[in-house]
């Protein structure tokens, strides 16, 4: 029994075509049998983000001062419409509330879009990719878990650009991409993390952000102007400012808010207009990446050397798609995959050989279809007997013992099935998982079918291949 897998499959429920009762086409069966709804990718997203409306809305974990921003805008505009508009409509023109209304709507919509849109988050590298990159860099056979920081140089428009390796996302960051520590994501064309909107500003939402600050500066300036006019008109005829303020107290509040914010917002708009015109990001500007202050002859390789074209390419370029596919459904065998971002591939390589009897056999066959990825979802640090590696949907059947009695034999295959459509699967993951979950270091069951693949690299693909060709020894 010890060698039984605790792939939580209910053999009875498996409609396999094979006559033998132990089911091995667990994947589909599990999907069918278990009542749990399929999970969406946002539920296992590794970054520090929060999702609402079933993945439609994405915000950073810390909302920053977004409520304050919203509050200030709503309060100021509300006071404007209540206190100033009636007077100004009567004494000036009725266009004022219309213009104010349009600006207000613009500001609100663009603010919400900036806050709730994916800024251009790059999904983390799959374990296969990470392993591939590691192999390419680590040619010296260095076995340390954390190699020294790596950079890769590329030539972009005759300018040397260094690409840094991101240890969290396990990939070389594309140019202009930066890792935001607050959101724990790599963001493309990373501008900055704005606490006022509670989100990063990156490739996808920069245009919303820019429109927001420009329209906000118009709105603030407009309200400021209107309030000043209003108070001036009221104070006419020798009545004095105090009288005017007493008659319209809301205006005082607006005046204060607008006075203090208009300068900073106008300044910010001006700064970002400069950035847009020269196709720079705040990040690059602050770091001085292209200013040549280090004495080198550097120019911005992304600039089109024409202000108009730069503006168009930043603001009017086709809207790039979201790369993280928040609302996509997880394939059942990967439901736990994306949950854990840190894949200790060297660890995997070190431990992957230990197998228990048929476990090993199964593991080998299994590993043929499973990628090393899922090893991370293995509760490595938390041995959970009843809750072993959720290769398919997690907690399928949290009681493995029943499984043992029934289908201790072929159920390891369950997780590996259905792979034809999902070539990326974990390999040694299941092995490792089993080991940990079962707490079985049982040498008696030591499987002689040890992976003899010549490829000792962390990913055990070749191993599984070899394992597959060896008939399992029972």
């Amino acid at each position: 029994m010890k060698n039984c897998e605790y792939q939580q499959i209910d053999p009875q429920a498996l409609p396999t075509p094979t006559p033998t009762p132990p089911p091995h086409h667990g994947k589909d069966t599990e999907k069918k049998k278990e009542p749990r709804r399929p999970r969406r990718k946002w539920e296992v997203f590794p970054g520090k983000n929060r999702f609402y409306c079933d993945g439609r809305i994405i915000v950073a974990r810390q909302s920053g001062v977004l409520p304050l921003t919203l509050g200030l805008i709503l309060v100021t505009s509300g006071l404007f419409f209540i206190f100033d508009c009636p007077f100004l409509v009567k004494h000036l023109t009725s266009c004022i509330p219309v213009i104010g209304g349009v600006l207000f709507v613009f500001v609100l919509i663009t603010l919400l879009q900036t806050s709730f849109t994916d800024p251009g988050i790059l999904p983390r590298a799959t374990p296969d990719e990470a392993a591939d990159i590691e192999k390419q860099i680590d040619n010296t056979g260095n076995t340390s878990y954390r190699p020294p920081p790596r950079t890769k140089e590329v030539l972009i428009n005759q300018q040397v650009v260094k690409l840094k390796y991101c240890f969290t996302c396990k990939m070389f960051r594309p140019p202009r991409t930066s890792h935001c520590s607050l959101c724990d994501n790599c963001v493309e064309r990373f501008d900055h993390h704005c606490p006022w909107v509670g989100n990063c500003v990156g490739k996808r939402n920069y245009r919303f952000f820019y429109t927001f600050i420009v329209s906000l500066s118009f709105l603030t300036a407009f309200i400021f102007g209107c309030v000043t006019t209003h108070l001036a008109l009221r104070a006419q005829g020798g009545k004095g400012l105090v009288f005017a303020l007493q008659e319209s107290p809301g205006s005082a509040v607006e005046l204060v808010i607008c006075f203090f914010s208009v300068w900073s917002i106008l300044g910010l708009s001006g700064f970002h207009t400069y950035l847009v015109a020269s196709n720079l990001t705040t990040n690059e500007d602050i770091k001085g990446s292209w200013s040549g202050k280090s004495g080198e002859d550097v120019t911005n390789p992304y600039s089109q050397k024409n202000i108009f074209i730069n503006c168009c390419s930043v603001l009017c370029a086709p809207m790039p798609p979201s790369l993280i596919d928040r609302r996509g459904f997880l394939p059942t065998d990967e439901s736990a995959q994306t949950g854990s971002a840190d894949i200790e591939l060297p660890t995997l390589a070190a431990k992957s050989e230990i197998n228990v009897c048929t476990q090993g056999t199964k593991g080998l066959l299994e590993s043929a279809a499973l990628s090393p990825l899922l090893s991370t979802s293995c509760p490595q640090g938390k041995p959970q007997n009843a809750h072993s590696c959720p290769e398919t949907s997690p907690a399928l059947n949290s009681d493995p013992t029943s499984e043992f009695s029934k289908g201790c034999r072929g159920n390891h295959m369950s997780s590996s099935h259905g792979d034809t459509s999902h070539p990326r699967h974990t390999k040694a993951r299941s092995k490792k998982c089993k080991r940990e979950a079962l707490h079985i270091p049982n040498p008696a069951f030591d499987v002689p079918v040890s992976p003899t693949s010549p490829d000792a690299a962390p990913d055990s693909k070749a191993r599984s291949h070899k394992g597959g060709s060896l008939t399992p020894l029972h």
Partner: protein, 143 residues
């Protein structure tokens, strides 16, 4: 018994030998382009010309998606005027091209890559970072 299972499973499963990753080519900037260098692992599986043609076709399609033309400017200006609410109702140009790319990859897989035991994964599933080519083992050798 696990034996039987495993053999049967092997038949139903496709065993993956290796995965090759075609990385991005940044020489022309941040545009989505992939390297056309022929990976050595595919040498005995597919024709170099064929492979390069596929990658070039993909590159062209991505370039088309990101192209700054009059159409994209009009779309951008219109979107700006409507406070970008059009993005909620309309499919963007990029998305249309992505669909085309998905179809193309499907077609390539069916016609060219699958018969050779290879499988192209749509780069969008990998965050447009890599073109993942899965090499399946030649099952005739394993049984």
């Amino acid at each position: 018994m696990a034996e039987t299972h495993s053999l049967q499973d092997m038949r139903q499963q496709t065993a993956i030998t290796a995965k090759v990753f075609i990385q991005r080519d940044y020489s022309s900037g941040t545009m989505c382009q992939f390297q056309t260098k022929f990976p050595s692992e595919l040498e005995n599986r597919i024709d170099k010309q064929q492979f390069e043609e596929t990658v070039r076709a993909l590159n062209n399609m991505y370039a088309e998606a990101e192209k700054l033309g009059s159409q994209s400017y009009i779309e951008g200006c219109l979107a700006c005027l409507t406070a970008y609410t059009v993005f909620l109702c309309m499919e963007t140009h990029y998305e249309k091209v992505l669909k085309k790319i998905a179809k193309y990859i499907q077609e390539q897989n069916d016609k060219i890559y699958a018969p050779r035991g290879l499988l192209l994964t749509d780069p969008i599933e990998r965050g447009l970072r890599v073109v993942e080519i899965t090499i399946f083992e030649d099952r005739s050798l394993t049984r």
